[in-house]
Symmetry: C2
Subunit: 351 residues, 2 copies
């Protein structure tokens, strides 16, 4: 019986290739190097399509256009805000080599007169993540963070935002309570955002979905007490390894009900203050679900930080294959009310 | 007399616009958006032209082509190794706005049959550094580091490298002794490289010369005990403010003699081991010069780190105009013998 229940839970989860994320980032070859796409309204926040979703679309097109399939380094410059609807991705192969290929891609949408408007342009180098050497040296350890059931998601409060919060239905983000002071008018002042990341339908992470993850957390400027729209100017992502696909054993509701719990339902609650334009309110956690299961998608620990760290690395470098779990690093510029909010270094670990 | 001597020293220093760096990164308009350049042999290391010098050349061309003059975010993908000689830079204006402009530029050299070979391609967003808000919040502090006279430069040992070390004559780098163990066969294992950076002819740093600085330190992989060529795949630079131009009062030889001290002179000494392919040996410092002067170029503290840091930020964020002295952050991928050597986060402070 227990085994049957486990298998049923596994069946309910979306899989890589058959998930919301995969359907909504599908691209259709129009002609060599040119791909049609449809920007889904399901990935919007406030008034724009999420930048990580766009990055994944471009990443998928480049993975098809280039001889190598895996994004290694993706440098994106955001030009104009994207809206749901048709788009075209034009790619160019810049250089191909034995181990690396470099390409360029731009996503365009259409003006009323039919002319193309460029939304985002990327330069990217692709390779084969499986071919990277096992010798990895790093001092990095995953951030100390409560387990998922003690972290906070949008379903822990009442969504109140001006405009769309559709993307919260697609994601399974649980923020470290230490980084959600902004939602209750008490930002920590530390400029950090930390949480567990997964896709709401249970799809495992892969290199492509990491490109979505890099733009999924609320801006670190919220925890500095700074509000307002902080559009991304540039975002570079370096993917270091495939995220782990091992199942974690922590108690969590089955994927299907967890996805459902992210649907917006009217709920009484304290409206966010004017100083916390939260895409959804992050409140005290509800009691953890008592249901336990032996499998769930392996979430990714994501951490972004404003400004530049100067803290010393006390730990010696170690060589360990397990350290490959540091699956990406990024750097980023935003335009915003304080120039430090323009900085973020994002690091992700898979469990 | 003292005042006359000071003025003479000041006169001897190269100035922004009239220095080795400015002459060697000059570009000549061929037609709209297209610039001719001559890659100088003076900026080579081993067998290739330095990647930071190339970045500065592209940065200068884009600063001329775009309506905004200052590089904010520059994402570079390195395609093939450059060699001294003629080159052409082709720029494209991608988008212009009130506060930001985005452009693209590629540097090409010529094959024997006259066809163009692309060396490096960049996407870059430019703006006006003086127009950034004063409200800066960061936890970053400059790294603890000995003063310049207790740091080590190439003139502290005998240069022994296969190929060119010409670039060491252009630069005034003094490495923290804690990060030069690699030069004597005792790498620290920490994957850090830290030092004072200046130009040998005394030219002050500006936003453009920072693009050179980001590729000026030896690879962090040396301090991991890893040897071999580790070409840069991608390098993104976010410039946050103009470096300070205040003069520092620390004792240092006049610029002219300091520049001279970087010339290669035969010297007896221990040859580097096979495991330390140093562009120059970094040995115990000679006694600091007894000459003191009241002015010298303001050097930049540069620090690069392999891997991804997970150390916590203990300090609260502070708001301070002086914190603007964190003048840039970068992220980088290299291809190399260990995939962690592929990572580096570079941060720079001006004094």
């Amino acid at each position: 019986m227990a085994q049957a229940a486990t298998e049923a839970a596994q069946t309910a989860r979306a899989t890589i290739g058959d998930s919301e994320f995969d359907r909504d980032t599908a691209v259709t070859l129009r002609e060599e190097g040119v791909y049609d796409a449809e920007l889904s309204a399901g990935w919007t926040i406030i008034h724009a399509v999420n930048g990580g979703y766009l990055l994944a679309l471009l990443g998928r097109a480049l993975g098809e256009a280039l001889p190598h399939a895996d994004p290694f380094s993706v440098s994106a410059h955001y030009l104009t805000a994207s809206v749901p609807g048709p788009a075209v991705i034009r790619t160019q192969t810049v250089r191909t080599g034995r181990t690396l290929s470099t390409g360029q891609a731009s996503l365009f949408q259409y003006a009323e007169d039919g002319s193309e408007i460029e939304r985002i342009r990327v330069l990217a180098t692709y390779g084969d993540l499986d071919a990277l050497p096992d010798d990895v040296r790093t001092t990095a350890l995953p951030p100390a963070m409560p387990d998922r059931d003690h972290c906070l998601g949008p379903s822990d409060g009442a969504p109140r935002i001006p405009g769309s919060s559709a993307i919260t239905d697609r994601l399974d983000i649980k923020l470290d309570p230490a980084t959600v002071g902004w939602a209750v008018g008490a930002p920590s002042g530390k400029g950090e955002m930390r949480g567990w990341f997964g896709l709401a339908d249970g799809r495992d992470a892969d290199a492509l979905s990491l490109l979505l993850t890099v733009d999924a957390l609320p801006p670190t400027s919220f925890e500095l007490g700074l509000t307002g729209w902080t559009p991304t100017v540039e975002l570079t992502t370096h993917i270091r390894c495939r995220p782990a696909r091992a199942r974690c054993a922590s108690p969590s509701p089955p994927a299907t009900s967890r996805a459902a719990s992210w649907r917006r339902t009217p709920r009484s609650g304290t409206a966010p203050t004017a100083s916390s334009p939260s895409p959804a309110s992050w409140r005290r956690p509800r009691a953890p679900s008592r249901r336990t299961r032996t499998t769930s998608p392996a979430p990714v620990r994501a951490q972004s930080r404003a400004g530049a760290s100067s803290s010393q690395w006390a730990r010696p470098m170690v060589t360990s294959r397990s350290r490959r779990r540091v699956c990406l690093t990024t750097s980023r510029s935003r335009s915003g009310p304080a120039s430090s909010s323009a900085d973020a270094v994002i690091t992700m670990w898979s469990t």
